[in-house]
Amino acid sequence: MPDTLLEVRDLRIQFPTNDGLVKAVDGVSFTLDRGATLGIVGESGSGKSVTSLGIMGLHQGTNAQITGSIQLDGEELVGAPSSRVRELRGSKMAMIFQDPLSAMHPYYTVGAQIAEAYLVHNQVDRKTARKHAVDMLGRVGIPQPAARVDDYPHQFSGGMRQRAMIAMALSCDPELLIADEPTTALDVTVQAQILDLIWDLQQEYHSAVIIITHDLGVVAELSDDILVMYAGRTAEYGKAEDVFDRPGHPYTWGLLASMPRIDEARLERLLPISGTPPSLIRVPSGCPFHPRCRYAGLTDGRSQTEVPNLREVEPGHLVACHLTADQRRTARAEQLLGDVGTPAVQTRQGDV
């Protein structure tokens, strides 16, 4: 029986700056069940990391303006007192960061850093906490955990450091685990080990996982649901197999077409998305993707003026795009055949 652990409704996170208001997250909604995995995909500046930091309550002390609702197990986190969020952070929700070398303190041993959260959230003495740290290191597959617990982060390899970070995040048995680009800094064979580890631990602890990445391959490996973000908004949201088998948003098509694939025949030419991601201060009017979209011309100017709402294209599969079902089908068929006609912007003049 699915039971919802996390419900995010119309989340908006904005940062006032001297240059204007940065709308880093602009109306994002999703739900996550216990034991399920949500993959959030997007390019740099799409708001995926800001969303995760917002859930963890890590925008405190910045000038971020957060509105909307984040409910963790029925408890509202937006506007909750920081002392309460602090209690939850580490015990009920935890995070794995991208770069374990900069996320760990170089002056403290790995064991001390893992034991710290356990000491804070549980009434135990140091000895028990240390024993727990050794257990956790063993659990995440570090050989000879009893000996390595007193090592410093620099004595660990990249993959081991990421394992130690996972041990740290899981030390209080959190119900929600957020992994922000957990494997981006790692080699492929180590990446495969870490993805396996996250998978196995999730089966064991039955925790809900949010995995944030720009790598569509990584999300496909782990996710039940997928949320594609663009310029702080949701472009597409649905079950992983629906989004990969029948992607509905031209941006998702672009992402899929622009990455070379090892499992399929080699294409003579990649089909990049023209242009660059927009500035979050001056988000394009209407659909934020329209300046880069090949099909924006088909919508009689609505792309330029009207923000597309998320619409259901099939049960449980939402797409924010003005194209009609017929237009989308034709456009997608063209895309797949590689017959994309004249691109809206000359590909050579990719940027600017």
Binding site: D187, T189, Q193
Partner: protein
């Protein structure tokens, strides 16, 4: 080992050993590890690159792929002579450039250029785009027909940037645009050989494809020869004609792109390929499932003290006694496909 000297300007159709634009044989780089401050003692050496052989025909692309610490970047820096080789030989257009002095190397720098990984740290933030792209022309004192400014503007146009941005600074550009500025600088002297070290790994997915396409266009327009160093197997497959897989300072497999990806023979290559995540969810009875893959245990051993004989034997699932005692040579199994392994995969017939 004989290395035939070929005439300069080899045609692009040539292949095989002995007639490449770039010929590398037995290339080695050991970094000494020392102890003590006043009385420095050499206590060992990091064998970053250990007896590597390959050749790149003119107009073609060689991909060097491997995980961090395999020596691919060091190899690139040896080719461009940013590092001094410990041993071996590098022949460029039939000329031995292995130990050329700085002064003798300088004119050759026109022909051999490099593209760097990080477009943020490889451009000086205090120089304008015009200054950055024009610098090689000034340094080499190249006289240009229309002056440096016009030439730079042509280069900017060639890489898909607006020539009017001549006076802007790097911070005004996005990551993809900065990488284009770096490429324009690389092209300024019309090099023959370009060593590109992770040219797209710092870029967003949609921008990666733009830069890959740009590199391919430039190759066909200008007849460039590339050595592309990357860790991303799918990118290497897309861009290369020949691919060399490196592990702990050695080439373990070297083959044509299609051959290598269709039938990888070295167990390491097989494991590497199976580790690449594929953007296609696996479903088992309606629930998400896991892809079957070869899992390598542990980490890459230290290059300070690499395993004896076959360097991969500590992590290989096929390793036997012979792998621990005898080093497998990089041998041509099938025509154009070299593998250094006692028990290669994907062999059609049992020998």
């Amino acid at each position: 080992m004989s290395t035939p000297v070929s005439t300069a300007g080899t045609s692009g159709t040539s292949s095989g050993a002995g007639d490449g634009l770039l010929e590398v044989s037995g290339l080695m780089k050991y970094f000494p590890v020392t102890r003590g401050v006043i009385f420095r003692q050499k206590i060992g050496a990091v064998q970053a690159v250990d007896k590597v052989d390959f050749s790149v025909p003119a107009g073609r692309t060689l991909g060097l792929v491997g995980e961090s610490g395999c020596g691919k970047t060091t190899t690139g820096r040896l080719l461009t002579r940013l590092l001094e080789p410990t041993g071996g030989r590098i022949m460029f257009e039939g000329r031995d450039i292995t130990h050329l002095s700085m002064g003798k190397m300088r004119p050759l720098r026109r022909d051999i250029q490099m593209i760097f990984q990080d477009p943020y740290s490889s451009l000086n933030p205090r120089h304008t785009v015009g200054g950055i792209v024009g610098a090689p022309l000034r340094l080499q004192k190249v006289k240009t027909e229309k002056g440096i400014k016009a030439t730079v503007q042509e280069l900017l146009e060639l890489v898909g940037l607006n020539p009017e941005h001549y006076n802007r600074y790097p911070h005004e550009f996005s990551g993809g645009q900065r990488q284009r500025i770096g490429i324009a600088r690389t092209l300024a002297l019309r090099p023959k050989l370009i060593v590109a070290d992770e040219p797209v790994s710092a870029l967003d997915v949609s921008i990666q494809a733009q830069v890959i396409n740009l590199l391919e266009d430039l190759q066909s327009e200008l007849g460039l020869t590339y050595v592309v160093i990357a860790h991303d197997l799918s990118v290497v497959r897309h861009i290369s004609d020949q691919v060399a897989v490196m592990y702990l300072g050695k080439i373990v497999e070297l083959a044509g792109r299609d051959q290598l990806y269709a039938k990888p023979r070295h167990p390491y290559t097989v494991a590497l390929m199976s580790a690449v995540p594929v953007p296609e969810p696996v479903r088992v009875e309606g629930r998400r499932g896991r892809r079957e893959r070869i899992r390598l245990a542990g980490d890459v051993p230290s290059p300070l003290n690499p395993p004896a004989a076959c360097r991969f034997h500590t992590r290989c699932w096929k390793a036997q006694e012979v792998c621990r005692t005898q080093e497998p040579p990089l041998a041509e199994l099938v025509s154009g496909h070299k593998v250094a392994c006692h028990f290669p995969e994907n062999t059609d017939a049992v020998p």
